[in-house]
Subunit: 135 residues, 2 copies
């Protein structure tokens, strides 16, 4: 598992790539490609959407970011060091933003039918975030 040969060609440190990384570090929450473009464009105005898509894919392969998908929502990514700690997400029904949660429900295996093999699970809570909830 410690074999360094898992790495592909080393990615170059371009202004675009750096800007995309910054976007994730600043946002502190899962971002959709269009959100990434918007944030990264502030640093590199020439940034194109195809570069965003290509770089996101590359970063995912490298294990730097991990996909986060919320039912009915466009795909998002978040920094892998966040994703490494198993967690789930909260989707605000009002502002549409997605937040990280800590913890995990119990007793999932009892939901699995006989003969089925459970490998992973995805949980998304929906409701109102602290900003959108009525005081």
């Amino acid at each position: 598992m410690t074999s360094p040969s898992e790495e592909r060609d080393l990615a170059r440190t371009t202004r675009q790539r750096t800007a995309i990384q910054q976007a994730f570090e600043t946002a502190q929450r899962p971002l959709a490609p269009s959100e990434v473009l918007k944030l990264a464009s502030k640093l590199v105005p020439s940034m194109s959407l195809s570069t965003v898509y290509r770089t996101l894919r590359r970063m995912e392969e490298e294990g730097m970011i991990a996909p986060v998908s919320v039912p009915g929502e466009p795909p998002r990514y978040e920094l892998a060091h966040v994703a490494e700690h198993h967690h789930h997400h909260f989707h605000c029904n009002r502002c549409g933003r997605v937040f990280d949660l800590v913890g995990c429900p119990t007793g999932l295996s009892r939901l699995v039918p006989r003969g089925f093999v459970l490998e992973e699970h995805t949980l998304v809570l929906h409701g109102l975030c602290a900003e959108c909830a009525p005081a």
Copy 2:
């Protein structure tokens, strides 16, 4: 007030609509638009994909079917009478089919951050279905 109930104009009982309904009743599992087309085409070969999309949307508005989405998968629908009983889904990583589960995990509210309001939740288990699991 035009109508005494919340119903819109009554949907016509066309061959296409009937075929789509049959597809859901036969399949007994959530179906993606392309799957619906494939199944319903057996009954009405002239069936077009746009009719499938239009009819699915209509049926959803009428409350006859409910959307089922699995992260990273195309959107699906299932019959609402199934959806009414709160449940979750199992996605087979090998054959890609989606199955209904009974039951629900506990202790979700303890995952919600202070100030957030929990309204709903979505849970998808991933793994191998009985057919795809090794004996």
